[in-house]
Structures are given as C-alpha cells and as structure tokens.
Symmetry: C2
Subunit: 547 residues, 2 copies
Amino acid sequence: MAMQRTPLLMSKILDRGATVAPNEAIVTATAHGTRRQTLLETRNRAHQLAHALRAAGVAVGDRVGTFMWNGSRHLEAYHACAGMGAVLHTLNIRLSDHDLEYIIDHAQDRLIIVDADALPLLEKLKGRMPSVERIIVASEADDAPWDTGLPNPVDYEAFIAGQPTQYAWPEIDENSPLGLCYTSGTTGNPKGVEYEHRSQYLHTLTQCLTDSMNLSATDCLLGIVPMFHAMGWGLPWSALMLGCKQVMPFKYMDPARLIQLLVDEEVTVSAGVPTIWQGVKAIYEANPGKYDLSKLSRLTCGGSAPPPSLIRWYWDTLGVEMVQGWGMTETSPLATLSRRVMKRSQLKLTEDQQFENVAKAGQVMPGIEVEIFDENFNRLPHDGETVGEILVRGPWICSAYYNNPQPEKFHDGWLITGDVGKIDPEQYLIISDRSKDLVKSGGEWISSVDLENHIVALAGVAQACVVAQPHPKWDERPVALVVLKPGAEVARETILAHCASTFAKWQLPDDILYVDSIPLTSTGKMDKKVVRAKLAADGYQLPDQRG
Amino acid sequence: MAMQRTPLLMSKILDRGATVAPNEAIVTATAHGTRRQTLLETRNRAHQLAHALRAAGVAVGDRVGTFMWNGSRHLEAYHACAGMGAVLHTLNIRLSDHDLEYIIDHAQDRLIIVDADALPLLEKLKGRMPSVERIIVASEADDAPWDTGLPNPVDYEAFIAGQPTQYAWPEIDENSPLGLCYTSGTTGNPKGVEYEHRSQYLHTLTQCLTDSMNLSATDCLLGIVPMFHAMGWGLPWSALMLGCKQVMPFKYMDPARLIQLLVDEEVTVSAGVPTIWQGVKAIYEANPGKYDLSKLSRLTCGGSAPPPSLIRWYWDTLGVEMVQGWGMTETSPLATLSRRVMKRSQLKLTEDQQFENVAKAGQVMPGIEVEIFDENFNRLPHDGETVGEILVRGPWICSAYYNNPQPEKFHDGWLITGDVGKIDPEQYLIISDRSKDLVKSGGEWISSVDLENHIVALAGVAQACVVAQPHPKWDERPVALVVLKPGAEVARETILAHCASTFAKWQLPDDILYVDSIPLTSTGKMDKKVVRAKLAADGYQLPDQRG
C-alpha cells in the first residue's frame, strides 16, 4: 500500500465550504421576501439534524424521505443524510398520490421531512404509507399552524433543538447508497435510481471543473432545478463543497420572483430547464431597464435542449453564457456539456460558429463514455450524420434500478438512455430526440426537437411542441402545437414557409394547432405524453385523414 | 449495485484530450528551435510504445525507468506506461550516480528510456544496474550519433516503429501502481513514493477544478517543473485529459529560452519553482519592450514559496496571476493552493489584501485534510498564531514508502510532512519553514523563509538564503547569505535595518555573508543542506564566537 485508502465519502467534502467560507449566506425565498442563515449555521443545523435522526432510530442505509421545495432545510437534510450515511429519498412533490404511494413503499422510507406548505398533498396518503414511522414538518413563518393525521408528527425545529452541532461522520464503504430518486417513465411504475457516495463524489468534482460548469467559491448559485429532481443536478453538493452563496427559490417559481432574486442576491450562476429561461426573458423584455443582471455570468440549462434563439438572446442581450448540459436521473445527471468555447481551436471561430456548438448537447465529461449504436449494438461512426441510440457508461452512470433491475435498459455495462442522436467529428453529442418522441415517417426519422427550435425562433411564437400522430401510409406524421406571444398573429402558412426554408418537404408538420399553453411535466419539460393523450382523447385526425 | 463499478484508472481519461482536440500541438524545444507533433500523433505513438514495451516483455506492474527531460517522448512514456499498467519510474537526471544506482536497483527497473543527451550520465552506471535488461535511447536531430556499452540498446524510433496505434488498455485494479518517484532526503538513501491509478486520477480531477489550477482545454501549458519531479506536478496528466496544447522545454532551461517559448507559443499557463520566475523577470526587465507576454495568464509556483515581491511584480507588470501551491512528492503533490481571490468574501478586499493571501501556502484542496499538531500529536488551533508540525491525509497522500515503510514519517493515518506552519482563521495554511530549516534560537523558532522574503524585497538584492548556525548559548542563530544584483551595493547595515523594521531584535541574522550564488537542489530549490555543509567545511564561526 503506497497511498492512503481514504474512501470517497460525501462526508469528506460536505463540511468544507462551511469551514472555508463560514459567513457566506444561504438564502431561502419566502412569501414576501427572504430568510437568511450562514453556511456555518446551515452546517451546524445539519449536524443537529443528523443527531436527531439517529435518536429517532435512523441507521446507516435507512431511507429518509423529503417532500420539500428548494430551501435551507432541504439543504440541511441533504447534508445530514449524506454525512451520517442515511439514504436521502427526494420525493417529487408534483407526482400523483398513486405514484407517491408506490414510491414511498418501494423505498421503505422510515421518516419523511415535509414542508408544511406541501403537507396537504402528503395528507392524501394517510393510511397508505405503512413504512413511515414519523413525519417531520418544516414550516415557514408565513405558514398557518399545521395539523396532520399522519403518524407521529413533529416540528422540524423542535426535532433538532438542543442537539449537538458536531456529528462524527462514520467511515462507511464508499459504494454505500447516498440518495434515491425515482423517474416517472412513460409506462409502468416509477423506477428508482440509487446514488452512491463514490458516484456522487466523482460527479461533484467533475461538475466543478473549469471545463465543466466552472463553479467556484466566488459564485452565488440560484438552483432553480428542484432538489427532488436528480439531486438538484448535483449542485447542492458542489456548492457545499466549494463554499458558494446559495439562493433557494422555495415554491416561488414564477419568473417575476426569480428575476428579482437574480438581481437582489447578485446571483452569478443559475440552473434550470429552458421554460424557466423563456419566462425570465419575457419578464426582462416586458420591463425595459428595470432589472440589473450585470452580475449574472452563466445559466446552465438542462432537462431539454434550449432553442438556439434563446441561447443567443441571453448572450447578445445580457452577456450571459447559457451552458447546455445533457444527462438524466440515471446519469447523476451530468454526462455532456456545451459551452461557447470548449477547446483552443474554437478560440479562433466567429461568435456565430461558437454558438452553433452551444446548440449541441456537448462534449462528454472526463471519465464518462458516450457512444451511439445501431439496433444490433454495433458502434456507429462519429461523422455528424449517422443517428443511433445513445448509450453511456462511467462511474456515475446507473447499472440497475433500485430493487427492480430492468436489464432491458442496459447492455453489456452500458446504460441505454432512450435518447437518439449523433456525434460529430469534433466529438459533440447532438440529441435528435427522445426515442419515444421521434417521428417515424416512411422509414425515416424526423426530429421533433429540430422542428420546435426552428418554429420558436419565428417572431411572435412563444412555444412550439411537435408530436407524432398515427398515419396509415407513413406510420407517423408530425403535428406542431404552437403558443403565440400575447397579441401576436402568425399565420399557419408563415410557419410552414419558415420551416420549408430549412427542412425537406416530407419533414414539414402536417398540421399547425394553435393552443394557449403546452402541458409541462413535474420537472418543467413539455409533457408530450399528455399532449399525445389529449389529442387522442379529442379524437384528433391528421388533415388528410379527415372524413 | 446501483452505479457502474468503473475503476478509476488513468486509462479512462488519458486518451480523452487526443479525442476531443486531436490537432492540438505538442511542442518540444530543440537546440535551435522546436519540434512539433499533434496530440493525436502523440497518443498514437504512446499506444505504439505500449505495444513495443509489451513485446519487450513488460507486464502489468513492471517498472520502466525514464531518464529524460521534459519532451514529447517523455510524455509518450507517461501515456504508454499508465495505459498498459506498467509503473513509470521517473529517474532524476540530476542525482548522483551513487543515488541512481541505489534507486534503479531498489525499484528493479527492467528497461530504461533515456534521452541521448543524458546517456553519458547513465553510462557511469555501466555494470551497476543488474535489473536493467534494455536501454531505449531517444535522440533528437541535433544529437551526435550515440553509442553505449549499456545492455541491449535500441533507438526509440526503431523500438516503436510498425507497432499498432491502438492498444486495448487493460482493466486492472484501481489501486494498482502507476508511477514511482524517489525523494532525496537529508539523510539515508532516497525513499520511493509509489503513485497509484486512483490517487493520480483524483489528483488530476482536482488539479483541473476552477478553484484549483483552473486548467482548461483552452490553455497552452509550459510545464517547466521536470517530469522526473513528482510526476511534473501532475500537469502532464491534466493536459492529456483536457486536450491542452503543451510546450516542453527539454533541457533548455535558461530564462532567455523560456521567455521566448512563452512568447512564441502563446503560453497561457506555466509552472515552475520561484528561481525560474526570478530568472524570467530579470530577462524581461533587462529587455524593455522585447517580450510580448499578453497571452500569459497565470504561473503556478511550487517547490518553495515565492517571495511576495515577486508575486506582486508579475501582477503589477504583466497582469499575470502567480498561483502558489504547496505539496511534496509524498502528496502527489497538490495539497494546498493560493489564488488572488478564493472565495466570495475576498472579492471586496483591496488588491493589497488579496495579495497578502497569495503569499500564504493556501487553502486545502477538496478531499484533503491539513492540520497542525504539537509534538504530542495534539491538534492545534487555527488562530494564525500557533505554529506546529503540518500533517496531511487524503486519497492522494502517501501512506508508506515503497518497500521501505518508514513508520516514523506517519502518524495514525497522517503523513508527517516535515514542514512547520500555522493555519489562520480563514483556513489558510502558512508555512513557517521546513522543520529542518527552522532556526531554533533560545527555545523560540525563527522562520528562515520569512527573513529571506523580507531581505529579497530590498532593492539591489537578487537572492537571500538564511540558515541556522550552532551557538553555545542560544543553540542556533540565523545567518543570511545574500546575492546582490549585478552592480548593486547594499550595505550590511542596510539589510539589518530593513529587517529590524519588521522582525524582533532576537530574530535578526547574526551575520550577512555576500556570495556570488546559492547552490540549488536538483529541483531548483535553494540547497540549504549544501550551504550548511560548506559553512562547516570552511570553519565558519558566528561573529560573537570568533576568537
């Protein structure tokens, strides 16, 4: 043995930020303002929470559920569970009670920490959570006094009060579980992804690389992506390790509140899905001169690809770099990333050329492999033309679902992502579509994402959603649902002519449907499953199939 | 099992740079210019070298010695050995033949790759390297034809010629050895530090953090620190992973060549000991307007602490940030680092205050622990006052020397560094001295480093070296050796008065000795062992002890 055998536990890096930057602020949005504590206070309260959880019988490996918005107490739960070796199971507040019942039972959560504000949603599960011994209710000053019929409830502050502020984090195996996050697939029950200490430790380091998200202790982070979604993209861990200021929006996700937080807290970096950034852009444009976003430096965009026109607007208007990341719950999530300049040869490119790269899903993170394969699992060339199934492997990529292996989602050590795309000679991954969202027309694939990005770049268009509709001859044909900006009028012919300037005739949508809004998933992506279901329920028929 | 069990092998990240930036340049200095190849060529040649080594009988775990300057073939040897699982033993070209004989035998090197230029030095060991089966000679176009009596010699190019350019890197245990580097201590035989795949992988990721050396694929790196010293501070690995342009100075280490390389190759980041940067500064100042260093962004300085006046000169004159790092062969080496702004609260400091921090050894890297202890191994407070022995632990810190455990250098899982220092409330490590270089006077410690930094800031002084001399009453008293700039005259009284402005009377040097130069170690640090030995050989006596 030549080097020390230090296990890669999150407890080895968790407390670091509070040590080097104890007075940095953790800011949580409230109904009418913000609530603030220091990073040292947050760390001390996390150690107290760990003591309280242990006193309540939580042992290494036990599951602790959270049913919480992004706020300081959710961060404390992250910190406490990871430190003590409990498994943080982040419950998605927006799931149906049917799915929640399944998940809580499947994970065998012993305790659930819940924001008082979300308590009524959990209340629906009364009598349907046999594994849960106790409910810990975190309430804000603005909340009405809470009352619940759920088992053995206790107030969060009472629960941790008087506990010591130093917990001796145990040395456990580095492959021990750290967190659980369930993905809601298109069919069947949600599937659990179990994060481990080693996988998350490596993910954290990688996220903080200069050539990754370039996070620094000098940053102020507004993490908008919910902490119940893929561990908030890992950002809470990175911020705790580095000692960043963190701003947490709680449930106040309307763009007006978000933009005000960006301004007031001098946020330098934020992260969320494209729809969030569409909303912030709209507020900014509607209020010329009102918002000073000069401190903001970059926005990480994930969940789905941001339209190139949106990326460019942020750069041209605000000098803000929109960083595109690609990944999923099963990939912890960061797998590839795209920034304006990612290698030396790109320094010489024009700004337009640089932004062509940002529109791609990006370059693979060190230590991760991304490849495209045909249906027989033969590797396909990186020629920027050939489209195939995207498979991923590496130390923070899922190898099996929790207590539900699903071997058909894996192949020879690789995760089958369900996304379809190509890799260009510059080694950029380009996502064509979710395989289930691709339009398969006459044996050829049409990317719904490409059509959407093109349509949304048209003046007057706020949102576009392209879905496949069944066709007796072509199997499927694309239909575009379009949301116009208030007061705008954009004719169907204008949209089709705009598409025809780039796409082949057979790739054009067969129909344009004007709608008021597009349904979103719990993670803010366009919910094409719901769109397709609604069209089916309405008895929608393609124009050339109408009687 | 929830996450993939991917071992942390260097082969998982080694080839990445050549994949994402195949056309980036690897530049090696030659007698009258440079020799260039692409990163892809370098990668392909490394795979060829691995095949040739395997054909020569090298198996996983076998030691391959290098006796080479920093150049493309040394980089290929790094790449090939790490990929195939051989152990790269970097021999220090500047060691005595006595030490080399010991080291080669202790490591049981099977092959040695040697630069033709350094062959005569290795020739002295003819008949004294029983483990060595073969010598591979790398020669440059400028070299005279080589001839050697060493066993079974072969030309490097002939050795790799015709081998395939794709080697299937084996999946070995992540704790397998990767490299060997011997440290030349003050007493006894050199001790070997064995680097492992996992330790170096984690070191590489950490070195590339924004809040560490902030390395990026957009950088052009001039690694001046020899690749035979602590794996070139790990920089070759980082640059290979990211896809940086690399410039390698070979044996041409005079400041005039180095500054020309910085200019011609548009170097953005470089790394070396303070004496190198003193030399570059002198050339720059002696040739006003001659050198355009506008591309240069930062210099990492390690090995010994750079004087604050030097740090400030680079910032004020060139806008170049001198980043101070602290570590040693036993710490892989990066343990702490100091940059101008390392946390958000420092953004508000004045430039002078920021540079006070840069003069410290810095903040500990994520995952590493640094603490100070008293002689009974009780932890000492981080008050910026209390001085103690510095101990380090973490996943890339040595736990025992190679086949020579030396348990007295370790305590309860910590490495005893041999450095003495304090930690301030901002969690900055401040090195007082090597424990063997501290002056112990009347029961108090005097830092030789503090005195040297103070003296060298005086106009007219080029270098200062403070060593202890024995004293019957005080045990030891400090003596300063001073090198003046050409033509300068600085009186002994001026130096003492300058010191008295900051230091207590009992801390002032008892004597000032004007010398022409200070002897340096093989790694470019002031060799205080030699200075002390020379004073003893000369029969030096302190002024108050002279007859």
